[in-house]
């Protein structure tokens, strides 16, 4: 990240006359001219909404105020006070914590195992496996919902049919509050591990082969090599993967929306979903406040992960 940007413009007061300052002005103009189209769209449709969201979180804005946002009144910290007594939000926060706590390790483990298997010199047709494992990543969430709602159907679904072969009577996966959340965690891991796998695979291929040769000479077995050579060198990629996946699961929304609509009995309601519901009820101010709390949680989680997993030499 910090490579070419290090070359800062020289602001030294220079005795050189007008020619030099006009050249500098022209350079500045050129730079901003190239930046302008992006900055215009970005400013209006991304930056302004982020700021507006913060402002809205201190107002009582409702959907009925849509055409007259200037007439909305400030509500101070009312929305944030309401957060504390919102039992649905507490439920959503607990569910979201489970998404993160179970989803991130599960996704990382599967991705790491797949990347290691594919990186082994013993395997041919690597591209077939790689492309296959990546397939769910490029698939529309709506199609994934269609597929899994069918597979998990308690009567005509293949999953329970297969379980029946070994004598297990499968539950109503998505329809039972005790299994719905777990099902969504597993489906999310199924959907997402492929992109992490590609990152890990690239990192694995960057490890110099001679390190393994040296380890073999020292008498290290496969597991010891993995433990003492692979894992330490993979650390930056693992950290990156944990942060990205953590942010993703903290915002998990589409899976429950299309598969369970947050149910049954709010067992799959997430914080993002709660924001969406509040938006749907027309509570724009309150929805913004909840979304900002989520924002803070995203930043906090990333910082904590960097602290826990990062090291000085990363």
């Amino acid at each position: 990240m910090a490579t070419a940007t290090e070359v800062r413009e020289t602001r030294a007061p220079t005795p050189t006359p007008a020619a030099r300052s006009s050249r500098r002005r022209r350079r500045a103009l050129t730079g901003w001219a190239f930046a302008a189209p992006f900055v215009a769209v970005f400013g209006v449709f991304l930056l302004l909404p982020v700021v507006a969201s913060l402002v809205m979180s201190f107002t009582d804005m409702r959907s009925t105020d849509l055409r007259t946002p200037w007439a909305v009144e400030f509500a101070g910290l009312d929305n944030y006070a309401r957060l504390l007594s919102d039992e649905l939000l507490a439920k959503a926060a607990a569910n979201t914590a489970i998404f993160v706590l179970f989803g991130v390790p599960l996704t990382m483990l599967v991705a790491l195992a797949a990347a290691n298997a594919l990186n082994s010199g013993l395997i041919r047709l690597r591209a077939v496996f790689r492309v296959g494992f990546y397939l769910p990543v490029v698939t529309s969430i709506v199609a994934i919902a269609v597929i899994w709602r069918f597979l998990l159907d308690p009567e005509a679904g293949l999953v329970d049919d297969l379980l029946g072969l070994i004598g297990v009577d499968g539950p109503h996966w998505l329809g039972d509050p005790s299994t719905a959340l777990g099902s969504i965690v597993v489906i999310a891991a199924w959907r997402n591990f492929g992109s992490l796998m590609v990152i890990f695979l690239a990192a694995l291929q960057g490890i110099p082969q001679h390190l393994y040769e040296a380890a073999t000479l020292d008498g290290a077995g496969r597991w010891q090599q993995f433990r003492h050579v692979t894992l330490p060198l993979l650390r930056p990629a693992l950290l990156f993967g944990a942060v990205i996946t953590g942010i993703g699961y903290l915002q998990l929304f589409e899976e429950p929306l299309v598969m369970t609509q947050g149910g049954p009995l709010q067992s799959t309601l997430s914080v993002s979903y709660h924001v969406y519901n509040q938006f749907g009820f027309g509570n724009y101010g309150y929805a913004s406040a909840v979304s900002y709390v989520l924002f803070v949680a995203v930043v906090a989680l990333s910082v904590v992960q960097f602290r826990l997993l990062g090291s000085r030499d990363d």
């Binding site: 490579t3 350079r27 050129t30 730079g31 901003w32 190239f34 930046a35 189209p37 992006f38 900055v39 769209v41 970005f42 449709f45 991304l46 302004l48 909404p49 507006a52 969201s53 809205m56 849509l66 946002p69 797949a114 298997a117 013993l122 591209a127 077939v128 296959g132 494992f133 990546y134 769910p136 990543v137 490029v138 698939t139 529309s140 969430i141 709506v142 199609a143 919902a145 269609v146 597929i147 899994w148 069918f150 005509a156 679904g157 199924w190 992109s195 990152i199 695979l201 690239a202 990205i244 903290l250 915002q251 929304f253 589409e254 598969m259 924001v275 969406y276 938006f279 913004s288 989520l294």
Partner: protein, 273 residues
Amino acid sequence: MTDRLARTALYAILIAGLLVVVGPFLWMLLSSFKPEAEIRSVPPTWWPQHWTLGNYGQLFDRLDFPRYFANSAIVALLVTAGNLLFCSLLGYALAKLDFPGRKALFLIVLGMLMVPGMVLFVPQFVLVSNLGLANSYAGLVLPFLAGPFGVFLMRQFLLQIPDDLIEAARVDGAGEWRVFWRIVLPLCKPALATLGILTFLASWNNFLWPLVVATTDDMYTLPVALALYSIGQNRIFYGLLLAGAVVVVLPVLIVFLVLQRHFMRGIATTGLK
């Protein structure tokens, strides 16, 4: 000997994994050719016993799928074109031009990568509604026209391009725009391909925004149409749903299989989805 054992074990695990990941897609494809009754049969069938194209016919009879398909394509193409142009312009400025505020601008754009979609969602909707752009192509496209990810990708790529090349063109008297258009952009083809594919895909699969902004049938995109006609409804035409899912997945699948190298490189080098 242990190598052979290890190899067999690895293959067994990988093939089992592949079945778990790709199997559901194959099952979806096969089932989309089954008649409605067979789809609901207990126990389920694996291979279709009576092949039919009826489910696909229903996409046209019951729903206006060509229209949704066209909407998805139009929105995705506009979003992709916008990102390619805007992000390469800013990426070039950030990597190769020196101007005051450059560093701050880069940090602001990068910082936006951390902002959860839900934070943007409500005010973006208020904004688009107030501009009178709800339920229009403009409303569907504008919020996605200039994403921070593309800038990051283009800047990282452009940093690797030697300054001498650009300097030489400048010395030859080419204006900055000409340098960008004639020298820099052609060199950026691999990065542009990656960004183009990733952006197109993200837009094609985008669900929440079009779900909220497209309010009438004629503005639905494919995922929205599929979701509204299926999910949460009790009376589901399973066959129709499966055929619809195939139509949503198939174009992406083809593009992905043809261009998968770009995908993998893009994800591996930038480390981002």
